[in-house]
């Protein structure tokens, strides 16, 4: 990943979903928090824009993998916090395994 800009541009939907689930696996976060967490997790390679992040959050919530609730933020602002549901945790496990398979296959293919 030497060209983060182009990597950012091609953030696949499935990848974003997986990253969101991963970001939330360690605890609840609000929308912006998810974005920052993903940036940290990927070492700055991915920084999802609100235009794609928020629709994804709502989609995952409607799928039953996330739950949301209003709470007060660290700066004393009201914010909507997302947490992983049981189904979400299972989904994370599945997607993670899936991703590893694909990544391994891709790596092997590109090496050969």
């Amino acid at each position: 990943m030497k060209t983060p800009a182009s990597a950012r541009a091609t953030l696949l939907q499935g990848t974003l979903d997986l990253l969101i689930l991963k970001a939330l696996s360690t605890g609840e976060l609000h929308g912006l928090g998810v974005s920052t967490r993903i940036e940290q997790l990927t070492g700055g390679t991915f920084a999802p824009q609100p235009g794609s992040l928020f629709p994804a959050l709502h989609r995952l919530e409607e799928a039953g993998w996330l739950e949301s609730a209003w709470d007060t933020s660290e700066n004393n602002r009201r914010a909507k916090y997302y947490t992983l549901t049981k189904a979400g945790q299972r989904q994370l496990g599945e997607e993670q395994a899936n991703w590893n398979r694909i990544a391994l296959a891709m790596a092997r293919a590109l090496e050969g």
């Binding site: 609000h30 409607e62 799928a63 009201r78």
Partner: protein
């Protein structure tokens, strides 16, 4: 994706829409605030922080829209939103909505009425049958060289043939035969006054094959159809049971009189069954119970063709397979019994309400009606499309703004199409209401057939409603798409500026709509004028006798159980008594009532010429002495029939002018002889009467002769009376009742009323064409006015400048008029060309008017031309009268 949470989300999004939206707004707002907080912490100035935050989020409205679109039921929710918006927009411009809805409503109503007619008579089966799609009709075809001839028909066959068909065929689960019409008219006596009842002679398996359930008693068994031992049993319809027997529980086993002979009632059919055929039947008797009693020649003779067949196809057997087998059976019978079966085949056709040989004509007629109402619907579509285009122009700024704010073009097109769909569906409601009204008017206007027991009547079913909704959807899409597409053509800059000029393609589309409207209206007006002129022509045709005031009363002596000797006595006495009624000026009897489309064939030869090529195909009527006086038909030479013209005396005839002129040009016809019919019956011509119209008002003169009723007995007779003043029908009926209470009157009324039936199809098409053309012209005028007003408004500024520079106002008017004039001329030319191509399809309906009648064509051009001028003149004058200063300032 899991289904359950998704459904819960859908419920939440649709039902608690407000709360979900508010929640979303809060979330986005809090996100922005947090972003601003972050920027502030980085040391930005507050304004910069806000701007940076907004940029980072990427536009709150856009993000909100993106989120909405991933939510469950997004499509539905936004559709509802568009619908709400559309309805609101339509409520804001009531005049536009009213015009569009009413023109589409009127346009679709016509189509719905005709669809209702087609649905009732072409698409349905007679009621009361089980699985009617598996039934098929069997009829006899004329063959030419082994194949069905051009006039193959679909005709009756003999009873011996039927028995062969029934036993040899293997394609039907059962094959039944029935006889309707002539022989199956009964005089039903149940004690008091006899009533005429239409029934049918049927084979014993008739009810089984049709799958008719018998509500009471039993149907026929094989024993009821026996040649050696005729059984006088009858099954009656539920309706007859109710009307004639008051629904008596003990009706089974009762004895009734049919044409004077006793029959035992053995069954009552289920409520919805009224016989197979267009005419309602009320009773059924076995084929072998022929009421001329013990006379069984009809059933025994292979030469008497009187039965139609109907069979239930075996599972897996198709029409083609049945056709093949029946054709083979017919070919075998033609070999075995060549005398009666040569050159005849068998046909198998699907079942339906209409008789097989009448279907093609009805299809053509209904097709013509569809063409007429379809044209008006097209015009209505063009009107609405034009209105929508114009509306698109006035709404350009609003639509431009939507597009500029990032709405997808498809989304805006959808919004506009939803609007036109709303208009069309509202139009459908109007259409169904109008169609209901139209159908009831139409049904009440249909006269009853004089010699058939057919009452055409139908209502609007759910199929018509479904059809209207489907039609409206198509119409709404078609009318809405083009205007929506052109209205959203991306021209943001010009739309957002105050300039309201329509783009070239938009104008072209509108002009094309108006041209099409004018052209279709011209076509309709040509048709309407042709038909109206033809009707006037028909009304102006002299039938050859005085029709007004004439009254007729029909009897069928067989229905009273009369044989020839007794029938003659009764008929003589009846005429004598009617003639002596106080208010009767003249009275006579006839076998055929003029102008009811009925015809009694009269082939004849001249003495010494016997070959078939010398045969003259004339017609005849069997009349009593008073007939000519009653009709007012003047005698031109010779004498009238006299009391001395009786059996035993020399047989005589009176001929018409045409026959006399054609047979003996330049000679005296009285004293000549004609030889009538297969038996070459010689008749002395004793008189010549003026030509008249016999079958229809439009026919051309043909050879016709009259035979005195005293010479040839006919059980079917019509008493024709010319009253001195008031109607005498009641008196004539009273005479019949006193002579024989068991003899029913088959039909009575004014002659004009009875003959109305013969011209009804033409009259209906004429009415319809006139209404349709008037509607079309009105809508076209609206279209022309609209485009003229629009042109004028576009050029107000230019006209202002011209007037300011000293141009005469007349010139300004000319400017606008020229533009609309051009469209009108193109439309009229197109319409006339289309009419020239299409009016020949009306030929069969026209009397004394040619399809290319110049008067109708010129008239249509004139009507549309002058309307276009008027419709153009109003806005043109308004534009020209504008104050130049204001015109310049306005833009």
């Amino acid at each position: 994706m899991p289904v359950l949470p998704r459904l819960a989300a859908l419920w939440r999004n649709l039902v608690h829409r407000r709360r979900v939206e508010r929640d979303l707004d809060d979330e986005l707002r809090s996100t922005i605030e947090m972003l601003v907080d972050a920027k502030l912490r980085q040391g930005m100035r507050p304004e910069d922080a806000r701007r940076a935050a907004a940029i980072e989020l990427g536009g709150v409205t856009v993000v909100r829209q993106q989120i909405r679109e991933v939510k469950a039921g997004a499509g539905l929710a936004s559709l509802l939103e568009d619908l709400r918006y559309g309805v609101r927009a339509l409520r804001r411009s009531p005049l536009f909505t009213l015009t569009a809805v009413s023109s589409l409503g009127v346009g679709m109503a016509g189509v719905a009425v005709v669809f209702g007619l087609a649905d009732a008579y072409l698409l349905r089966y007679p009621p009361g049958l089980a699985d009617p799609a598996r039934l098929a009709e069997v009829g006899r075809l004329r063959l030419a060289g082994g194949n069905p001839s051009d006039d193959a028909g679909f005709n009756t066959f003999s009873y011996p043939n039927f028995r062969e068909y029934r036993t040899r065929q293997t394609v039907f689960d059962g094959l039944a035969a029935y006889h309707l019409g002539g022989l199956a008219r009964f005089g039903l006596g149940t004690g008091h006054e006899a009533v005429p009842v239409l029934g049918a002679y049927v084979s014993a398996n008739y009810f089984d094959v049709l799958g008719v359930s018998i509500a009471r008693g039993r149907g026929f068994s094989a024993d009821d159809e026996r040649l050696d031992q005729a059984r006088a049993v009858v099954v009656i319809s539920h309706r007859l049971w109710q009307t004639q027997f008051n629904g008596a529980a003990d009706v089974i086993g009762r004895t009734v009189r049919l044409n004077g002979r006793p029959f035992t009632v053995i069954g009552v059919t289920s409520r919805d069954f009224a016989g197979y055929g267009l005419e309602e039947q009320r009773l059924w008797v076995p084929l072998t119970a022929y009421p001329d009693g013990d006379d069984l020649t009809l059933v025994a003779s292979r030469g008497r063709q009187w039965l139609m067949g109907i069979g239930r196809l075996k599972p897996g057997v198709g029409l083609e397979q049945a056709r093949d087998q029946m054709a083979r059976i017919a070919a075998d019978l033609a070999r075995e019994f060549p005398d009666d079966n040569k050159d005849h085949g068998l046909g198998v056709e699907p079942t339906g309400v209409l008789p097989v040989d009448g279907r093609e004509a009805v299809h053509l007629f209904v097709g013509l009606l569809f063409a007429l109402v379809g044209l008006v619907m097209l015009i209505a579509c063009f009107t609405t499309a034009g209105l929508l285009l114009a509306r698109g122009v006035t709404r350009a700024p609003e639509l431009g703004l939507r597009l500029a704010l990032g709405a997808a073009r498809a989304r805006v097109v959808r919004l506009l199409v939803i609007e036109s769909l709303t208009i069309a569906l509202t139009g459908a409601v109007v259409a169904v209401a109008l169609a209901w009204l139209g159908t009831s008017l139409l049904v009440s206007a249909i006269p009853t057939a004089p010699n058939r027991n057919i009452q055409l009547a139908w209502g609007l079913g759910w199929r018509v409603v479904a059809f209207s909704i489907g039609l409206a959807t198509v119409v709404g899409l078609v009318c809405g798409l083009v205007p929506a597409w052109t209205a959203t053509r991306p021209m943001l800059a010009s739309a957002l500026s105050r300039e309201r000029g329509g783009s070239a393609p938009r104008l072209r589309a509108r002009a094309a709509f108006v041209v099409a409207q004018v052209a279709l209206s011209v076509l309709l007006v040509v048709c309407a004028l042709l038909l109206t002129r033809s009707m006037r022509h028909a009304a102006g045709i002299d039938p050859g006798f005085r029709m007004d005031g004439l009254e007729v009363v029909g009897i069928d002596l067989r229905l009273g159980g009369y044989d020839e000797p007794r029938g003659r006595i009764l008929a003589d006495e009846l005429i004598r008594r009617v003639e002596s009624l106080p208010n009767v000026r003249a009275a006579g009897s006839a076998r055929v009532v003029p102008l009811t489309r009925e015809r009694e064939g009269g082939r004849f030869w001249l003495p010494g010429e016997f070959g078939p090529e010398k045969m003259i195909d004339g017609s005849q009527n069997i009349v009593s002495r008073g007939f000519f006086d009653a009709l007012g038909l003047p005698l031109l030479a010779g004498r009238q029939f006299a009391a001395t013209d009786r059996v035993g005396a020399p047989a005589v005839a009176i001929v018409n002018e045409t026959l006399a002129r054609q047979m003996w040009p330049g000679q005296e016809a009285v004293g000549k002889k004609i030889l009538v019919g297969r038996s070459r019956w010689p008749l002395d011509v004793v008189g010549v009467v003026k030509d008249a119209k016999y079958r229809t008002i439009g026919e051309s003169p043909s050879p016709f002769f009259y035979v005195p009723a005293t010479l040839r007995y006919e059980p079917v007779q019509w008493i024709i009376v010319r009253p001195a003043s008031a109607s005498v029908i009641a008196d004539v009926r009273a005479v019949i009742r006193t002579l024989d209470p068991n003899l029913p009157v088959t039909r009575s009324g004014a002659l004009a009323e009875l003959t109305a039936f013969t011209l009804f199809p033409q009259r209906l098409v004429t009415w319809l064409a006139t209404i349709v053309a008037a509607t079309g012209v009105f809508l076209a005028a609206l279209g022309v006015y609209g485009i003229a007003a629009y042109h004028a408004s576009l050029r107000t500024r230019e006209i202002g400048i011209r007037v300011a520079l000293g141009a005469a106002r007349g010139q300004a008017v000319k400017l606008v008029l020229l533009q609309t004039g051009r469209l009108a001329v193109v439309g009229i030319a197109l319409g006339l060309s289309a009419a020239a191509l299409l009016t020949r399809f009306l030929d069969g309906m026209l009397y004394g008017v040619r399809p290319l009648d110049p008067v109708s064509f010129a008239g249509a051009a004139l009507v549309l031309g002058s309307l276009a001028v008027i419709a153009g003149l109003i806005p043109a004058r308004r534009a020209a009268s504008v104050n130049p200063v204001e015109a310049l300032r306005a833009q």
